[in-house]
């Protein structure tokens, strides 16, 4: 028993090192003065030079602004659609079209991105031929494409969140005469709100991060941030990308820290409330 515990723990530590060394190496080299990633220019490092290069690069800034707008729109729309789909799958029991919905919300998650990208572009081309819309590819088509694969992830998050609650609260509200819409707004939505938020964040990240699908459905002149990064790194290592990576990792890491602290705080408050309630009952 003991020997296996040691083996699996060693594997865990080595695995975590494997997961984090590349990220740490980008952070360290983002402060390196040398253009060569292989050379640590100790005399002039650490330096913020590459952050300056990055933030004065108009192409990067334009792309980041486009990615931000697309990600906010796509995350919001897919949070709404994913909540509807998750509600239907978790609460409606058997209904016509259920297996179709299940298939269409699980398949995009594993579907190779080249296929989703190709099929969506061909759809947009066919639509443009048939009804004259969308006119050319750009921010609109990128957003529509992102919504379609992000909502599948939101559906999974909402569905598992709803599966964790039994329906007794909703049934009680219904018994008291609340209409289904009111039950949803007053009972269901507040319960699943953390799930909706988590789903929104996940959708935002996926959209912000997507390269392959965007590449298919983006027109000339509309490049998202991953597309700009990809064209830079295809030519080899470029130190300003390290700076960009460091900025993005810092945002994510501080977000996770804030979320963890906030959840601990909430949990502690709930425990205290429960203790007070128990004390009051005595």
């Amino acid at each position: 028993m003991r020997s296996r515990g040691v083996f699996s723990r060693t594997a865990l530590v080595l695995g975590l090192v494997f997961l984090y060394v590349p990220i740490l190496s980008m952070i360290v080299y983002s402060f390196n003065n040398s253009r060569l990633v292989t050379v640590w220019d100790a005399a002039h490092s650490p330096t913020l030079k590459w952050y300056g290069v990055l933030l004065s690069d108009g192409e990067v800034l334009d792309a980041a602004w486009l990615s931000l707008r697309v990600a906010i729109c796509a995350a919001t729309a897919s949070a709404v659609l994913g909540t509807l789909a998750g509600m239907a799958l978790a609460r409606f029991g058997a209904f016509r079209g259920r297996s179709l919905l299940v298939g269409m919300t699980t398949a995009p998650i594993v579907m190779p991105e080249v296929i989703s990208g190709l099929s969506l572009l061909l759809l947009f081309v066919a639509l443009e031929q048939a009804i004259g819309w969308p006119r050319g590819m750009g921010a609109v088509t990128i957003t529509l494409a992102h919504i379609s694969f992000c909502m599948a992830y939101v559906t999974v998050v909402i569905q598992s969140r709803l599966a964790g609650f039994d329906e007794s609260l909703e049934e009680a509200a219904q018994d008291l005469g609340a209409r289904p819409a009111k039950v949803f707004w007053r009972i269901t939505l507040p319960l699943i709100l953390p799930g909706v938020l988590a789903g929104w964040l996940l959708a935002f990240t996926l959209s912000w991060d997507d390269l392959v699908i965007s590449q298919f459905v983006a027109g000339p002149g509309s490049s998202t941030l991953p597309m700009v990064i990809f064209s830079k790194v295809r030519l080899g290592v470029s130190p300003d990308v390290n700076a960009l990576a460091t900025l993005m990792v810092s945002v994510v890491a501080s977000g996770v820290v804030v979320a963890t602290v906030w959840m601990r705080h909430r949990l502690r408050r709930r425990e205290r409330d429960a203790q007070l309630a128990a004390a009051a009952n005595l």
Partner: protein, 309 residues
């Protein structure tokens, strides 16, 4: 009175439900299902120099549709060994990567599942955290580590493990490193979800009956974790077959994977019928794994519901 109210309420509720389920179904039908039908259609069309670069599937003659189905797109795919080789190469890369992910991910998931309560959520967070940072940037990081005179090369030289710099980038090695690195969490999470539910009493019983730890693992833990192994393996295998970014940045230049093939046919050769044919072939290859995955997940959900009740 009560009955009438019930009758009045029921149709409303029903209509509301239809709307709630109908909107996402409609959306996905337009943006997920119909696109595939279009891909299928174009894969049977003839390529031509025009915008869009394919001929219509039907031509109208005296008011009647005349089908013009072309199999030339598929003809290439089956006669040109280039396509067949990249098809087989992609399947092999996906299978080997899945195996590596399983071998590395299983002990990691096991260690997390057996860790103390306070550690477990922290360790899980460490596994999930890379998900939230850019996939592209994490793959890019390996270029810096693996390139000639890169960090790993210099480290090996420094330790006198190698005498001359060795080429690590754009080899099968760097491709596997990149894929395993990116997809490892997809293997660990379903495995953890499975291993965490195991009843340790069974292992104690096995020990009481004289089984050595390793035997107990082989005969108790491993068989129970088959659904987790299946889910994790499918979650890695399916997307890796069509992977585009990692092989482009880290993989060999003399042997491309099928996802890159599709992209090149589409963007460089502008041959939409062949690109669509490649997409259909990838889908045919993946249909069985995708159906299997849905079955595994559904069974998992049913088990979870059964144990909750």
């Amino acid at each position: 009175m009560e009955q009438r109210e019930g009758r009045k309420l029921k149709p409303r509720w029903f209509r509301g439900r239809q709307v709630v389920a109908g909107i996402p179904i409609l959306w996905l039908a337009v943006f997920f299902l119909i696109p595939f039908l279009i891909v299928l259609k174009i894969s049977f069309s003839e390529a031509r120099l025009a915008i869009p670069p394919y001929a219509p599937l039907f031509t109208w003659l005296h008011g009647l549709p005349v089908p013009r189905i072309h199999l030339s797109g598929y003809g290439y795919l089956f006669t040109d060994p280039l396509y067949l080789r990249s098809y087989l190469y992609s399947v092999m890369v996906a299978a080997v990567s899945t195996l590596f992910c399983l071998v590395i991910g299983y002990p990691m998931a096991y260690a997390i599942a057996r860790a103390g309560d306070s550690w477990r959520s922290f360790l899980l967070m460490l596994i999930v955290l890379p998900f939230w940072t850019s996939f592209l940037l994490r793959v890019y990081a390996w270029i810096g580590l693996l390139q000639n005179d890169g960090l790993i090369d210099s480290l090996l030289l420094h330790l006198h493990l190698i005498k001359h710099p060795i080429t690590l980038l754009q080899t099968d090695f760097s491709l596997y490193v990149g894929i395993v690195y990116s997809y490892l969490p997809f293997m660990i999470l379903p495995l953890y979800a499975n291993l965490e539910k195991h009843d340790t009493a069974l292992l104690e019983a096995a020990a009481d009956l004289g089984a050595r730890p390793f035997t107990a693992f082989l005969r108790v833990t491993l068989p129970q974790s088959v659904p987790g192994i299946a889910a994790g393996s499918l979650l890695v295998f399916i997307p890796v077959v069509g992977e585009y970014v990692i092989p482009t940045l880290l993989g060999r230049t003399d042997q491309i994977m099928i996802g890159r093939m599709l992209s090149d046919e589409f963007f460089d050769n502008r041959d939409w019928p062949v690109a669509s044919g490649v997409a259909i072939l990838i889908l045919l290859l993946l249909v069985v794994p995708i159906v299997l995955l849905q079955r595994v997940e559904r069974k998992d959900l049913e088990v979870a519901e059964a144990t909750d009740k």
